[in-house]
Symmetry: C2
Subunit: 339 residues, 2 copies
């Protein structure tokens, strides 16, 4: 059941382990004829090097780690599957393996997953996503000098390599769009405020409103989790207000979909009686009814890019930019107003 080893090959060929190894490694100090013999025997016997042994010897794993922050038992987020596809494809392209762990954020289990990957030397570098205020993961990794790239900034004093999307700018566009449509009672469905991306988006929204003489009235900011269910509940709260908001900005698309659902269940026409916007532009946004106005960030590409940055870092290459801030793109569809 277990495959042949270098030793088996060497014995069969009457060569030393060293020579077989070097032949396969393409070293120039083995005769071309021998090399061919080795190659052929390896092929015949179905030799595949034992990755574990190689890792132990080389002192590196050629593996990158990714701890996915999952919430609750039903973690169903199209956003993450797309990010994962980007990361996975890029890793494969560069001959890296990908070790994945799914853990609830800010728990001992999450901490343990990071420690295991880092201190157990399971991976050469880590990808950190959904950065949080005073993110302990970043402190931990920075202190150790362990290679990592984060998708999202932080409010810590330490300097680290990250890629982020300018959420404040995205929300500025959303706000301007809504203001241009004449909305004055704008409400905001926010994710928990310890998430950095949420903080940036909130700031962008509120700053732009204020610059235009508006603001979130009391009760017009409601916090919920990042799911359709959360958005649904939050929207119901908002619609109980009197007067109710004329426009509702959600922190991501999933929440926006939930919000639309809540409005529609009350008989309101989204895009008419109330404007709703999201953030992310997941593929479903385009096929929602009505199609969702949102802010696009290239999730798949982001996955590839942070993965590429990390691998460069691991290889010890100099990164062209250690801090990347992407401009998102406003995508206007019908949920924010028809006509």
């Amino acid at each position: 059941m277990r495959g042949p080893t270098l030793k088996d090959l060497a014995e069969k060929l009457g060569l030393s382990i060293t020579t077989v190894s070097r032949a396969l490694g393409g070293y120039s100090d083995v005769a071309e004829a021998t090399r061919q013999r080795v190659l052929q025997a390896a092929e015949e016997m179905g030799y595949v090097p034992d990755v574990t042994a190689r890792r132990l010897q080389k002192g590196r794993t050629d593996t990158i780690g990714f701890v996915i922050p999952t919430f609750g038992p039903r973690f169903s987020d199209p956003y993450f599957s797309e990010l994962l596809a980007g990361i996975g494809n890029e890793a494969a392209r560069q001959n890296f393996d990908l070790l994945v762990s799914t853990r609830a954020p800010d728990t001992p289990e999450e901490k343990q997953a990071y420690r295991r990957m880092v201190e157990g030397r399971l991976v050469d570098g880590l990808l950190v996503v959904r950065t949080r205020v005073k993110d302990p993961r970043i402190t931990y990794l920075s202190n150790l000098g362990f290679p990592f790239v984060s998708f999202g900034r932080s409010d810590l004093a330490v300097d680290f390599t990250y890629l982020d999307v300018d959420g404040a700018l995205g929300m500025e566009w959303v706000a301007q769009h809504l203001i241009a449509l004449g909305h004055e009672r704008v409400a905001y469905i926010s994710a928990p405020q310890d998430l950095m991306f949420c903080i940036h988006r909130s700031k962008g929204l509120q700053a732009t409103l204020q610059r235009n003489g508006l603001s979130l009235r009391s009760g017009h900011l409601v916090v919920c989790d990042l799911t359709e269910g959360g958005g649904f509940k939050a929207m119901n709260q908002l619609l109980d207000l009197n007067p109710r908001p004329s426009a509702v900005v959600a922190c991501n698309d999933l929440m926006a979909m939930g919000a639309m659902s809540a409005a529609q269940r009350r008989g309101l026409a989204v895009g008419h009686d109330v404007a709703i916007t999201g953030f992310d532009d997941i593929p479903l946004a385009q096929h929602a009814h009505p199609p969702l106005t949102t802010v696009r960030q290239p999730i798949y590409d982001i996955g590839r890019r942070i993965c590429r940055m990390l691998i460069r870092m691991i290889r010890g290459e100099e990164l062209p930019e250690r801090h990347v801030l992407l401009e998102p793109e406003l995508v206007v569809r019908e949920s924010s107003g028809i006509g």
Copy 2:
């Protein structure tokens, strides 16, 4: 930067590597006092065993592999993130690591990913999902006798361990539901017919229609990929027909959402002018507009379960059932008819 090894600990304590190792391993042939000394020193120096070295010695990896079949660059599927969460959480609970690869199905790259994991001895077992007709992955793994559990059956002669949801039964219920509502012109948006789950669903649908004197008319079966975009295009084709179908059954929820979108873009009221159903019951189905009639399968639990089965298998334990077939559940919402 690299952490301390057993050797470092042993030197510091004036003990042998063996004793330190056995002390940490909780063996009874080391004095309690020594054990405490070792434990404390390990704690102080922040000793964490090198997982790679341990793997090489033990001859197993305590890792399970999972190759996610991804389509195209934008692979955004809530279904998979939920499945992954189930798998990941169960694996972690049992102290297994999870190695993930993302590859397009039926490509040389996919084959290579499997070979690497198996023959490179990177994992102790594999999870196979989205089984296909004459699935080469199953043939490959069966021939080698490599431990794996599949989510989905196959049409191969070989016997292997699987868990599946009875798609035929699910579709039977969908069909009966639509027939009870009086529909006679039922159309079907199918996924590529080399996917086993699709075959089962198709059969269930067609058999039930036939048993009731109905059938899919020509042009009423259209095949597309498993995305919203696919469903959207397929639905447009169906709506160009004259007479157009009065009910459209989609092979999964994502496609159903696309189909709804297409119908609505033509001014049709879903659930009124045309009935639409899905399959999976992703969380978004509930918050679609109108909410989507669909068939529920417990994706998260399935993830946990196949993972648990695989780990049992790896541990050499006897499985209570090698073939599990779950009954899905019809969830009637408004997209199939209002009133």
